[in-house]
Symmetry: C2
Subunit: 187 residues, 2 copies
DNA sequence: CGCGCGATTGAGTAATTTCAAATCTAGTGG
DNA sequence: CCACTAGATTTGAAATTACTCAATCGCGCG
């Protein structure tokens, strides 16, 4: 279980056993059942989560009660309401389980300790943050350049597994179209 | 001019004169006239740019010849085609001057040297990358939750200066609407 | 003055949403 | 094994939103 974290980190930087032990000391394992919330809008955000297994969604609910999915998080993803986590403000998004999910929890102080005491980990997080930024920019571009059908196909190519794992309604609210429109696109 | 960079960095981390001298050694100043390209699609991306003055836009041109603006970059912003820069691949976006612009150029090796030799700078870039990631997520949410008019008003609140500095056509292609639609929204 | 760029306006068309109803499917209890 | 229910998906039709194409307007600059 912690081996999974080690493999994940070592795709970017090698760690000695000692270093890895220190890394581990900052994480707390946790399990959540399908439908439960790791973060609720309005909460203080205590952790950043590394997903070991299962599936999460990061969701924002607007005034009219519609839900909009900022992101799905599957195995080996890092997820939280990053704005709230880093700025210690109230969450504007919920983080919810779409499946039974195992995570490793990292607190903000744990994150800071890792960055300060182990430069390799700061480097690791920098790489992850850059990748996240780039991925978000790509998604923005998809909204600018592609229509609903094209965005649907992009998603289908990028994460085919999602189609098995989540209801279409949720894919629709990730893509920014109504579920009816998504249904009509599939044909 | 380099003082501007120092002030910018020291909003996040203090630097000794010696450290700052080392930082400076990795940057090359450059000036570009309105309309010129810092990066063209297809190019290798040599630099990440810190904008001292002026205004840039990061643009993607689709097959049908329409241009889509991923981002504007004004004073004190860092900009480049980050995917191409970090992965040493060909640019999929152009970076172009909307005004005469002064920048400081940082090469990938310069970036890596700063990160390796000066942990403070790695920390600085981590903070910037996180902020960039968060800002992109907010923009994604704006596409999901807001219609054209609301996105227009968000932009207007966030960057009122842009309305003085760039033609509406470009704001439209940043917001993802046609210029005609934007024109009708303004009323 | 006249050119050229940017902004606006109008009219028709295409894409998407909304609301409503019908259909399908997996899981539950009898 | 079947009937039943809740959730998910599909379909239809009307309404809305945004796009496209075309024409016009406004203004700064040579």
């Amino acid at each position: 279980m912690l081996e999974q974290l080690r493999k994940h980190i070592e795709k970017i930087i090698p760690l000695t056993d000692e270093e890895f032990a220190f890394v581990c000391s900052q994480f707390t394992p946790a399990q959540y059942k399908k439908h439960t919330f790791l973060i609720r809008e309005g909460d203080r955000v205590q952790h950043c989560y590394f997903v070991l297994s299962g599936l999460l969604m990061l969701v924002h609910n607007d005034e009219s009660g519609k839900q909009h999915i900022a992101s799905f998080a599957m195995e080996d993803w890092w997820e939280t309401d990053f704005l709230a986590f880093h700025s210690k403000t109230a969450a504007t998004m919920s983080l919810q389980c779409l499946e039974n999910t195992e995570v490793l929890c990292l607190s903000l102080t744990g994150y800071q300790k890792l960055c300060n005491d182990l430069p390799k980990m700061e480097h690791f997080f920098l790489r992850k943050a850059n990748a996240g930024h780039i991925a978000s920019q790509q998604r923005i571009l998809s909204f600018l350049t592609a229509n609903a059908k094209q965005r649907y196909e992009l998603l289908l190519n990028k994460y085919p597994a999602l189609f098995q794992r989540v209801p279409k309604t949720l894919l629709a609210s990730y893509l920014g179209v109504s579920r009816e429109t998504l249904s009509r696109l599939a044909s």
